[in-house]
């Protein structure tokens, strides 16, 4: 038996927590418990993002999704969880149809995820690629500390299960949102060349979209006179 690959260990930990608590959301009956289980499941998903090398996305998931959207959801739960509304049960017939649907989706999605053999194992970073990473980092910015070695982050070349450097994604993501894809300065295969544009237009569209949503939600949720109980 080889040494424990900590990356794999933490992946299974976070994956089991995320999937387990997601199933618990479905099974649970009390709305407050469901909200708590969802928080844990999405927090574990943020951990999965960190393990895949997407630490900016992971931090964003924690801040915006768990720390924003779910707080909003919890507020909604607290405001409406009165008496009989806390546990609303579903009939057996609905459950059977839902399980059928789940079975069909599972039969479709899970084998599809397992088809491509090059997806079954990870990719330890070789020395040549580490050099390329250093070059890339220097080209991106001369003021960012390039890859301080820590116990966390990417898989490594010596396959001792210990990652070598932290991924640097924040500045390239920012530049990508402004339209400059600084992560694609090296050679890219012909198949991926069309995807090398920046994301400036979606960025602007999303900004306006968020403004519209802000105004709309504030208008919809303004306080009005409450109707008497039925």
């Amino acid at each position: 038996m080889g040494p424990i690959n900590w990356h794999t260990f933490f992946f299974y930990l976070y994956a089991l927590v995320a999937c387990g608590f997601a199933v618990a959301v479905v099974i649970s009956t009390s709305i407050v418990r469901m909200a708590l289980y969802l928080i844990v499941a999405l927090g574990a998903t943020a951990g999965l993002f960190f393990l895949a090398g997407a630490d900016f996305v992971g931090a964003m998931q924690l801040m915006i999704y768990v720390g924003g959207t779910l707080v909003l959801l919890i507020f909604g739960v607290m405001l409406t969880a009165q008496g009989p509304l806390v546990s609303l049960r579903t009939t057996g017939g609905d459950w059977i149809v839902a399980m059928l649907l789940a079975g069909c989706l599972a039969a479709l999605l899970i084998p599809a995820g397992l088809t491509v053999s090059s997806w079954h194992t990870g990719h330890p970073v070789t020395t040549a690629e580490k050099d390329a990473q250093d070059v890339q980092t220097v080209l991106v910015s001369t003021t960012i500390a390039h890859g301080v070695p820590t116990a966390g982050g990417l898989p490594d070349a010596d396959s001792n299960g210990i990652p070598d450097k932290q991924p640097i994604t924040a500045a390239p993501l920012g530049m990508g949102l402004l339209g400059a894809r600084v992560d694609k300065l090296g050679d890219v295969p012909e198949a991926l060349r069309p995807g090398m544009s920046g994301y400036l237009l979606p960025f602007e569209v999303i900004s306006v979209h968020l403004l519209v949503v802000l105004v709309g939600a504030a208008y919809l949720a303004r306080s009005k006179r409450r109707a008497p109980n039925r």
């Binding site: 708590l36 900016f56 050099d131 500390a145 116990a151 001792n160 210990i162 500045a171």
Partner: protein, 396 residues
């Protein structure tokens, strides 16, 4: 540290033990910090109120009082209200404590002494500090008491609202240094105290004060402590908590105060760099060997902890000086004062960095040459360095 240990043990065991050691060291921060800050609070509040504070337990300064209080809290009866949701009631304090502890994971205590050197360190700390609100909401709901729920809702609204100006204030030092990596931001403030970002331009100076206000509101300290207002809601969301669970909430609060003070210290006050660069003057730098570098880092640690304690003491001082704000006043301060001021400071700092990139006076140097550490002065030299070291290593 872990790579050095990996030469002696199996690598996976080396990383496990280093990880556990870092966790234990970081757990000491809320535990010891809470005790110390409780003592500071009692003494400072006593002096402000023209009395003495604890003087009997442990001699003139009463420092054993904290130990006595800790023992009392641990040995208290484990109560739970009858209507309370059992699981949620029990788990709520630990959620707050975990959020507060996780924020310390990305906080550098000295140059390179950080549990996880995340490239998005600033963002991560802000994100995790915002998760503390879940413990509060769950505690308020699970206590099955109207007043607890009110306190919890107010606190949640306050924390979430103040995340906006807090984020904008934090973005100003990130903008000036160009990195979200906290170790890099600290390294860029090496040198005399004039290199500290708080003295970089007037906008950053004002941003520090707005940041401190928002941070105080974010950890629910007075004058923004309506959620725990003793005179109004008994004790707010932690009314029904006693003994060790209350201690967990308490440690979470002081741990968060330490974390936001630490963030202010690194972002604005140079982190582990002292006002005078004694470590580089005395030669306690990495070029002179690992032992001297470690001693230099230890001095940096003392610097950092001193700045954090100063920040927390300042929060304690403000608590016992200013009257409490009403919830509508709290929201007003956030939306009508902090957020616009933070936005204007952000704009001002952007314009300042664009028009005067090297700074003014003592700071009038190009960015790339100002840094004492290993940031390369130009790309070509750095690429050569990489090539020669790879060749020298024999392509391993």
């Amino acid at each position: 540290m872990a790579e050095a240990l990996a030469n002696y043990l199996w690598p996976w065991l080396a990383y496990l033990s280093v990880g556990l050691l870092q966790c234990v060291l970081l757990l000491l921060v809320p535990f010891v910090g809470a005790m110390f800050f409780v003592w500071v609070e009692r003494k400072v509040s006593a002096r402000i109120q023209d009395r003495l504070g604890p003087t009997r337990c442990g001699g003139k300064f009463g420092w054993l009082q904290l130990l006595a209080d800790g023992l009392k809290l641990i040995t208290k009866e484990d109560l739970r209200p009858g209507d309370a949701d059992a699981v949620l009631f029990r788990i709520a304090p630990y959620i707050s404590f975990c959020a507060s502890f996780a924020a310390l994971l990305a906080l550098p205590f000295s140059n390179g002494w950080v549990a996880q050197n995340l490239d998005v360190g600033v963002f991560f700390i802000l994100a995790v500090l915002g998760l503390e609100v879940f413990g509060v909401i769950l505690a308020g709901y699970a206590s099955a008491s109207k007043w607890s729920l009110f306190g919890a809702m107010r606190e949640a609204a306050q924390v979430v609202s103040y995340e906006v100006p807090l984020g904008m204030c934090v973005v100003v030092p990130v903008l000036i240094t160009g990195s979200m990596n906290l170790v890099t931001i600290g390294q860029m403030q090496a040198g005399f105290f004039t290199q500290w970002l708080v003295f970089h331009d007037p906008f950053t100076f004002i941003t520090f004060w707005v940041y401190f206000t928002c941070a105080t509101a974010s950890v629910n300290r007075a004058p923004f402590d309506l959620a725990e207002a003793e005179s109004e809601l008994v004790a707010g969301f932690h009314t029904e908590y006693s003994g060790f669970r209350w201690l967990a909430f308490f440690m979470a609060e002081y741990g968060s105060m330490f974390a936001v003070s630490g963030l202010a210290a690194i972002l604005f006050f140079g982190g582990w760099n002292g006002p005078i660069p004694i470590t580089s003057m005395l030669g306690l730098t990495p070029e002179n060997g690992p032992v001297l570098a470690w001693i230099g880092n230890l001095l940096g640690l003392f610097n950092f902890i001193f700045k954090c304690v100063l920040g927390v003491t300042f929060m304690v001082w403000v608590r016992w000086t200013l009257p409490r704000l009403r919830i509508d006043q709290v929201m007003q301060v956030c939306l009508k004062y902090c957020t616009p001021i933070a936005a204007v400071m952000f704009l001002g700092a952007t314009c300042w960095t664009y028009l005067l990139p090297g700074g003014v006076g003592l700071r009038a140097m190009p960015y790339a040459q100002r840094y004492v550490t290993s940031a390369p002065a130009d790309a070509a030299a750095e690429l050569d360095r990489i090539a020669t070291t790879r060749v020298a290593r024999g392509g391993e």
